[in-house]
Amino acid sequence: MKSFFAITFCVLVLLSVVAWQIKPDPPPGKIPLVWVSDDNPARRQQIALFNQLHPEYDLRLDPRASTAGIEKVMLQSLAGVGPDLADAFSPSDLDAFVRSGVAWDITEELAERGVDLEGEVWPAILPTGIREDRVYGFPANVAVDAIWINKDLFDAAGEPYPEGPWTWDEFLEVAERLNVRDARGRIKQFGFLCDWWQWPQFIMLFGGHIYSEDGTRCVIDGPEATEAIQFMRDLMYEHHVMPTPVDEATMATQGGWGSGTITYFGAGKGAMALGGRWWLCTLRDYEGLNLGVVEIPHVKEPRYRAYGRATVINRYSPRREEALDFLVYEAGKDYNDLINRQADAVAAVVRYNYTPEFLRNPEHPEEDYNEVWRDVVKYGRSDDWSSFVNGQTAMRILNKQLDLIKSDQKPVPKAMRDAAREVNEEIAKTLEMDPSLRIQYYRLTGRERPE
């Protein structure tokens, strides 16, 4: 018995040595930098290029799905085991980074290195990097969505390719004509595919808002926002041009990063899809896809949702000075050109989007629509956000109501009202817990809590 335990122990120690060896370790002599971002395959090239330009560094990616990632990153940073660089995926993400003290204020440091955020970058993406005139992160890319069209499916239906500007009514007609049903009468090819989490986009398109201008209350129950969500819901349940959750569950598709609507579109289950230029990262893998792009229909003037990542530096990182070099890289030509070539959305620095390389990528000559992508960014606006409520909590509340709408369980106006009410209650709760926020709120509204 004793010998059995002794032998087992030795074997386990041996295995531990093996486990230690196969841990991915930085090569000696280089300064390791860890960057937390999403799993987009384009990251590998972006990292390789940086390491090439800066051989003294060994930059590595720590992949994190964007949804739950931020909170964990902050937690780890505060615990001293955080990364050196982390991406914020929205203005409210940046807000969380700043308020928890994890994001390093780099206004002076970047200025010293000749990087002028406000002058160089698309205005739409500024709120993801700047808070109260202090710079915390550099935008890694900018995305403004448009409508992808599958030209082959249009040809098969005998439809001309739509061109902007166009209205939602025109859109609906085209989408309905592109629905294809199978022998049992079920739709096997939809006119339009859209991720449900694009609902903030629709709200913006119709002129609505999620939060008031100063972020002090949730106004998602306003008429424009309600109309927008009603339209989205009707696309599924009235006009039947968009798959319902049940329809989606039955579409088994190939893999590739960014599952869901992208893969359905790539597999030809839909003729049009609302998405970003970064879809190409996955779509380029689908052979024989013949694509076109058209701007999203709008109601009055064009108002599109701009989003993107901004890279912040962990204030508690022992290598934060070195990490600045990565941000400078993100401001430079090599990186921005790479972003454009890879189609990881559109480069954040404006002037690199007006180069001939951007317009016609020699590796992908069929992508003749890059101007459309660039031009829509001009109309991009950043998401609404509020510093008076935790972004994740608010999203959870809003998504819960929107889920009910998505599965047609609740009428839209009621859901919007309930959503607004619950978020405002959450704001009240947050204010109660945090005196510094109360002061800020008072300064903005003259009140201590929402009425």
Binding site: M1, K2, F5, T8, F9, L12, L15, S16, A19, I22, K23, P24, D39, D62, P63, R64, A65, K72, L75, Q76, A79, G80, V81, T250, M251, A252, T253, Q254, G255, G256, W257, S259, T263
Partner: protein, 289 residues
């Protein structure tokens, strides 16, 4: 309560008398076969689906028209499945080893040695058995955060290696060993340490095997703790890896079924090999409800 269920031969079993009538006999068989089929069908579906090409998963033919054996290697290409396997087994092995060792030693202290406060402490151990895991997860997590053991092998292994339950189970086993044996050894001049290794442990083999199997099983399938502790790809265990695979890489049902099959096979083998131990272990209360 005795430690082992009394073995009974067929003729003395409760209903053997009147089951002999033909009608009853067949009814039992029908029921058993029906249940067996119900248990098997999902597993069969899983195995068959794992060999199908993706388009066929949508269709309703049970048997694949083309057998895509390459689905299995494909899983390894899409995610670091081999790594997940290694991690699960490595961590479960360490946890099992540590748990058996420390629990046996503690059980010996409770079962055989006399010391003041022994029973009170034991009752304290027992009391913690009814605490739901969730209550402990949160503080343990913050402890890992403070110790910088978040996202590490140590963080996965160490907290799981100590269980009041293992101590309880082994103490029960040890109590059934006649104390005359240790007294004899003591008279011969053996120290408690020697008695432990030479007398008690060999006789507790059944208990150790049972505890070992259930600890390994519990840790192999452990979900909550690795879920909150792990973020790095190279540390993922099988359950977390499977979840990641399902969430991120498209709805490739055939590959996911292949991964599930590979996940389950060691368990099937373990069960078939160690069946009797497992059954006996359950019947002695080896599973916490």
């Amino acid at each position: 309560m005795s430690a082992f269920p009394r073995e009974r031969s067929g003729r003395h079993l409760a209903f053997s008398g009147w089951w002999y009538r033909r009608g009853r006999f067949t009814a039992s068989h029908v029921l058993l076969v029906l249940m067996a089929v119900t248990m098997l069908v999902p597993f069969m579906w899983m195995v068959l689906a794992s060999f199908k090409p993706l388009q066929e998963v949508e269709q309703l033919n049970p048997i694949p028209s083309v057998w895509r054996f390459e689905n299995y290697p494909n899983v390894f290409e899409q995610v670091s499945f081999a790594r997940y396997y290694f991690n699960s087994i490595f961590i479960a092995a360490w946890v099992t080893f540590l748990q058996c060792l420390t629990s046996a030693m503690a059980a010996y202290a409770f079962a055989r040695l006399q010391w003041r406060g022994r029973d009170t402490v034991f009752r304290l151990y027992l009391a913690t058995l009814m605490i739901p895991g969730v209550v402990l997860m949160i503080p343990n997590y913050t402890l890992m955060v403070k110790l910088h053991l978040l996202d590490s092998y140590l963080g996965l292994i160490v907290p799981a290696s100590f269980s009041a339950f293992g101590t309880f189970l082994l103490r029960q086993f040890m109590l059934t060993i006649p104390s005359a044996l240790d007294e004899a050894a003591a008279i011969d001049g053996a120290s408690p340490w020697q008695i432990f290794w030479d007398v008690i442990m060999p006789l507790s083999r059944a208990g150790l095997v049972t505890l070992g199997i259930f600890t390994f099983l519990g840790n192999y399938g452990s979900f909550f703790w690795p879920l909150i502790l792990i973020k790095s790809e190279h540390l993922r265990t099988l359950p977390i890896g499977m979840l990641y695979f399902d969430t991120v890489y498209g709805r490739q049902t055939n590959l996911i079924m292949a991964a599930s099959v590979m996940n389950i096979i060691p368990l099937v083998i373990l069960f078939v090999a160690a069946q009797r131990h497992i059954v006996r272990g359950v019947q002695l209360g080896a599973v916490k409800g």
